[in-house]
Symmetry: C2
Subunit: 374 residues, 2 copies
């Protein structure tokens, strides 16, 4: 069966790109090679790939999708997508998505096609996860959780040098070393993560700084792990913040505010609640505890990102949980709840879980302890 | 210093996408977040990212690039690239690349812009590697080589069961287990590989089949490792084909043809030689030994792919070494030479090295033994 997609009277043409890759994987039921042209007609669909990829894809794509290669339609690989589309579609009006490449659009227009820009996602059903998809995200989240435990265990077991640097035996414990521990643990769960964050002290004040060099006692260490399963292609996402040894009073206060904000947001989550309401609950709570969000010397600080995002075949997908998204949560959404506070003098604190939205609340996909001092 | 790019009188606008990501990394000197708009003017360039990413990028981008976020220009994140571009560029004519998203192009046209489609790559210099880039690819290639040795060592040390399945102690040696060995070894070299191939027997006849399940003695096992460095973003690429235990005569003949083809191709490589000539040398040699390339029952077999591709910030980049690319090799190109033969009854054989093209020949970036029977 073809995955349900937006109906459109005109043939819908999708070209593989970073944005459409996940939609195409869902529509086709398998990961596609770099170059792939997908044409949905009123009945069934055609997928055009290279001859070399065709056999493998014929075995793995969803039924009702016909896999062909350019030579099947009297064309050739070098002739490119415009020629392939012309030989496959008789209609002269095509539906395309906003990320359709302009160069190809111009070629098709020159050949007499009219392109209709559809603003609807080609595969809106992707937002609401099926049972199999929930299980796939849960597996990746369990991998992330296992890696997080190993990473925190490594930090907790480190000795503290006189220079405050963490030590494992004679060597200094670095961001790189903890990232390696995380990577090996994920691999044992058939997952990989390209951009794991292990950021300590000032570096942690920048939410997407990966971190490098020695880890220090008495400073926040933000650990953000987002692995993708090699088997399913689905992601998981978790963040914890820890401090080796006693934490300064200001850091404790900051941590408790983020933890309380996340708890309040989680408590509010259920089908029918607005995404922006969830964000506001966290923002208001942290503000009420005296944590300002502002730009100082052209440098943003405070709660400087949204609360979360959908997780599935993309690490960041709909629905966004932010001030800008007035959208109702629905049962079957899988989202992160990850409030954070970032100040250059103290560092960053972020706590993140990936959850399944249900009719009455939520399900934590892989529970993992939240504790600052280790 | 800004990396040299194609000059254009009109401002050049690049939007992050799978195709432009590598160009943008080279132009900016750092990896960019998911959403990034790059505007090159006659003097310098502007990079628009989210407020949260701005500090990190200000520290890491090449000089002459001004990093701003939408609020700096009286806009907001939600207003999107069309609004940001309008507030940044006074000229009404913009140069864009073929992969520019159609939806954004339509928005800009509605706002009175004229878009000029440039077919030149925005960063053609990326094809010729600098000393630092050669070193970066060499490091990734060394990681690939180390992983290959471990993988082949594991296969060579396996016992052969009565059922021909390879065994490590009491457990059966699978594609998955060898892939895990490869993954852990790459991680120890700060590299990851998402789609390593360890394909045995009939599965190996499909060049991009990843492989699964038990490995068998007496059959070809194609191992293709293409890791990316987490630190530099540069790739490496290597393939070997091995057979545990004695190989059937037909497989030996097939292996020797591929090995001889690769040797002949490597011998011909030097600056000034045509890419399609290199391909033809391998194709002709294998044909002369009786290995036909043809489509049987709508299933391609023989030498069914190109000889190679450039390797750098993308795993597949210019120049392509194929029948379709009549382009001269130049000193500083880094390319793969990877002839292969694939037949459903025997399986596949592919041998691949990544080399640096020089004025007089080539340099192997990481030498690794070629031997069928292990």
């Amino acid at each position: 069966m073809l995955t349900k997609m937006n109906t459109c009277r005109k043939p819908l043409v999708l070209i593989q790109s970073s944005e459409t890759a996940a939609d195409l994987q869902k529509l086709c039921g398998t990961q596609l090679p770099e170059v792939a042209v997908f044409i949905k007609k009123s009945r069934g669909a055609t997928l055009i790939v290279s001859e070399m990829e065709s056999n493998r894809l014929r075995r793995s794509v969803n039924k009702n999708i016909t896999v062909i290669y350019p030579e099947n339609i009297g064309s050739g690989w070098k002739k490119g997508p415009a020629d392939w589309i012309q030989r496959t579609v008789t209609e002269k009006e095509l539906t395309v998505t906003p990320d359709f490449p302009l160069g190809l659009a111009e070629e098709l227009k020159t050949s007499g096609y009219k392109l209709i820009l559809s603003k609807k996602a080609p595969c809106p059903i992707r937002e609401i996860k099926t049972g199999d998809e929930i299980e796939a995200v849960r597996q990746s989240q369990r991998a992330a959780d296992a890696a997080m435990r190993k990473a925190i265990g490594q930090i907790a077991s480190a000795a503290i040098g006189r220079d405050q640097k963490l030590r494992m035996g004679k060597s200094i414990l670095t961001s790189e070393a903890v990232r390696a521990t995380i990577g090996h643990t994920l691999l044992d769960h058939d997952c990989i993560a390209a951009e794991t964050i292990v950021a300590c002290g000032p570096a942690s004040a920048d939410p997407h700084e990966r971190g490098e060099g020695p880890l220090l006692a008495g400073h926040p260490i933000v650990i953000d792990i987002f692995p993708r399963s090699g088997k399913t292609g689905y992601w998981g996402d978790i963040t914890r913040t820890v401090c080796r040894g006693p934490a300064p009073a200001e850091l404790k206060k900051q941590y408790n505010a983020v933890k309380a904000a996340q708890a309040a947001q989680l408590k509010a989550v259920k089908a029918g609640v607005w995404a922006d309401t969830i964000h506001k609950i966290g923002a208001d709570l942290m503000k009420s505890r005296g944590f300002k969000t502002e730009t100082v010397n052209d440098s943003p600080q405070g709660f400087i990102h949204g609360t979360g995002h959908g997780v599935g075949l993309e690490i960041h997908e709909a629905p966004r949980i932010s001030a800008a998204n007035h959208q109702k949560l629905r049962a079957g959404h899988i989202i992160t709840i990850e409030p954070g506070l970032y100040y250059p003098n103290i560092g960053g604190v972020r706590i993140e879980d990936t959850i399944l939205v249900t009719r009455d609340g939520y399900k934590m996909l892989a529970p993992c302890e939240k504790k600052l001092e280790v």
